[in-house]
Assembly symmetry: C2
Homo-oligomer: 450 residues x 2
């Protein structure tokens, strides 16, 4: 008989590109998802939770929430309303090389409108995006939603005589680099080529300066006044029908939003938005946080894009967003989570009495637990309470039970005193004191409210 | 060159064994998970969300939430408190043949205590389970949490002289069938064998009637009074040390729970609980719903087990539960979800005005949306409102705008009138009426509150 080979025990490590979320992290994300979905709901979007697995050639984990939406809509179109507004939140998976801040499992919070040709659907998505950002705690002025339109670019390409030219894709790829190389870089790349930061020679598309001009006019069309922006765009697309239609759409979006009070302090027309221009077929949107953060080396950095989307034929979508919540980065949600009240165990035989204490506390809605490790070493119990972020420890041995009292240790105050108080102050305001057993809930409530 | 074969377009079907959840289903499950986690939190359990993927021989979707817990605890034990109380909720995946009510992706809501040897941890889990069931809407009396202990069974096997006998596993397998074949069936299977319902002969384990007696005494030990149950169990385990230790533990659990007011109307000692006895090493628990439901053919059926768990060495766990919420089955959560107010479009050029209406409604916290499909056919707009479960439709064309009014259609009242009203009643209480544009929010609020 062949020997059964013993498998080595698997190492306890999170798979590469994945991570685990503990306590407060789970609660914080949940709070944010709840806020986002409350806005989505208010706008009439319905929740959809599709299975995590889709059939491609074989079963595969979903890559995004758009392909499942397309599948679900095709499958249930007779039962679903049209237009179908739906939102979905959940993990998606990528079989890509993980890197800093890039995981193989991360959350998306999509909202899509399927089956509406109206640009009012695009305006609605932009307004909703603005509301979502403010609802999760980003004040007006700290973000901007920028809107562009692929159709305007199509008009520009038409004017350049590249609508059906194979160089069209080269131009699209070049535009995509506008964020990185700027106006001058794009001009060089569209014409004779350029030398990049590492000294490498990059071939140009080979257009003349004149041919490249409409693209640059398009990318830099943004002016302080939106009417002036449209003026510039009209110049860039000339008499292209599709181009002028794209500008009309942008104008309608701006008008609809303006009428609802969403001015350029929140949502602006900005032809320099290039992300997604290659993919979407109509309006594209991007939300950016405009405040500075410090990177790990303390250098100021732009936070940048947190959400984006656009129209793909009659599917209007957005907020295929980043996983790291912006609010986390700005530290607005990180108030320390308060742990449970810990009732320590001085006398094993009194377990029922300790349980009765936590029972009363829970009955009053106060998070509480009995120490369930080995109670022999009392120091370990206090260390445990510390690790649990407990605001209060309750201590009672036979003396206390005989006298109908318990000792209360205010751990928050204790930590503060330990840091700052003089010996005198410490004596005046001790962090540990005796209370009547009957006053347990009331006294702890007092400490928690303080 | 080889021709590229065109892939057939994938069929729009949910993968076998998976399902999609729409609107109200997502909201209902979320509400239930929120209720469950509020109880877990109150008991001092901390949330943990591990990655959906674990490293086995290769990356694999998690099968349950226990293996990830074991991995996370091993990986982070220096940073985690001990005992570690954690809860986790999320989908798990099984590569098994799907069947009715059996999916390849379903939710689990685990709560586990790692690193506590105390039976107080087991009592706590049972109390928490009872609280969870009542919190999600199952009244006391409609459920029972039953507790058994593997150590008592070990004592029985010791008394039978089977503690180290290869037939021990046969006996364990036979006990597992107690729910199906009952006392007589187990007796036959332990001794000479039996003929099952299909006429097939099933071999017995080959014990004598005398040898089988302690097993049957154990399984049927439950009496009305818990002291009598313990009396019977003492008889079944004789002088086995492990057996008596198991009974002591059950007694402590019953005492601790009794002291906290969890009497046998909620949690009872019941040696006939066999689920998990083969797997767990100490106390096992099972929660059962005791009311009857009707199956698809209208026949009365027991709802049965909804949650269960037990102690595996120093890991105390429970609520590796069923996916279908009991509350759904009893229909307590199925109040029809109210859709958004739908503002119809009579005049495309007035889109900004329609948007202003939904903006005001949303500002007042009322779910609202503009119809964004093709507005040409007004009947389609009302059909859409119907599909959306809209409580109210708002209608305004140029006449209304000129006069500063809007038409309000109370769709709930309309549906009621259509079903029952006489023509006279219909005229007296029309479901559609005119209001001032300025009163839009107030009038709709009135209808929604009615």
């Amino acid at each position: 008989m062949a020997k059964v080979k013993k498998q080595p025990r698997p190492k306890a490590v999170t798979p590469k590109g994945f991570r685990d979320y503990f306590g407060a992290e789970v609660a914080q994300r949940k709070a944010m998802l709840d806020q986002i979905s409350s806005v989505y709901q208010l706008y009439g979007f319905d929740a959809l939770e599709s299975s995590a697995v889709e059939t491609v050639d074989w079963l595969a984990l979903r890559y995004d929430l758009t392909a499942p939406l397309a599948r679900v809509f095709a499958q249930h179109r007779n039962d679903l309303p049209t237009p179908y507004r739906r939102f979905a939140m959940g993990p998606v998976w990528r079989n890509e090389k993980p890197g800093p801040g890039r995981f193989r499992q991360f959350y998306q919070c999509d909202a899509d409108t399927v089956g509406s040709g109206s640009v009012a659907a695009d305006a609605e998505i932009c307004a909703m995006l603005s509301d979502v950002l403010e609802t999760v705690g980003i004040p007006r002025g700290d973000y901007i939603v920028r809107v562009n339109n692929r159709k305007v670019l199509n008009g520009v390409l038409e004017v350049m005589g590249l609508a059906d030219d194979p160089r069209r894709d080269d131009v699209l790829r070049t535009i995509d680099k506008f964020d990185k190389v700027g106006e001058r870089g794009v001009r060089e790349l569209l014409t004779v080529g350029r030398t990049d930061a590492s000294g490498a020679e990059i071939d140009g598309v080979g257009l003349s300066e004149d041919q490249a001009a409409p693209v640059l006019a398009f990318l830099t069309a943004k002016q302080d006044r939106v009417e002036d922006t449209f003026e510039k765009l009209r110049g860039a697309v000339g008499d292209s029908v599709i181009g002028n239609q794209g500008i009309d759409e942008l104008q309608q979006i701006a008008d609809l939003l303006g009428a609802q009070g969403y001015g350029p302090d929140r949502i602006e027309i900005d032809p320099s938005v290039v992300r997604g221009l290659g993919y979407y077929t109509g309006p594209v949107y991007e939300a950016e946080l405009t405040f500075e953060i410090k990177d790990e080396k303390g250098r100021p950095r732009q936070f940048g894009s947190v959400a984006g989307g656009g129209r793909y034929d009659d599917l209007v979508k957005r907020f295929t967003g980043q996983e790291v919540p912006a609010t986390d980065a700005k530290g607005r949600m990180d108030k320390a989570t308060v742990g449970p009240v810990v009732v320590t165990v001085m006398d094993r035989d009194r377990m029922a009495d300790y349980q009765a204490m936590v029972g009363e506390l829970r009955g009053a809605g106060i998070r509480a637990e009995v120490y369930l490790g080995n109670p022999k070493n009392f120091g370990n119990q206090l260390k445990y309470a510390d690790k649990r972020n407990a605001p209060v420890a309750v201590i009672a041995g036979s003396d206390e039970f005989d006298q109908g009292v318990v000792q209360i240790k205010d751990l928050v105050l204790g930590a503060k005193i330990a840091q700052t108080a003089t010996h005198e102050e410490w004596k005046e305001q001790p962090a540990q004191f005796e209370i009547k057993r009957a006053d347990l809930v009331a006294e702890i409530r007092k400490i928690l409210d303080a």
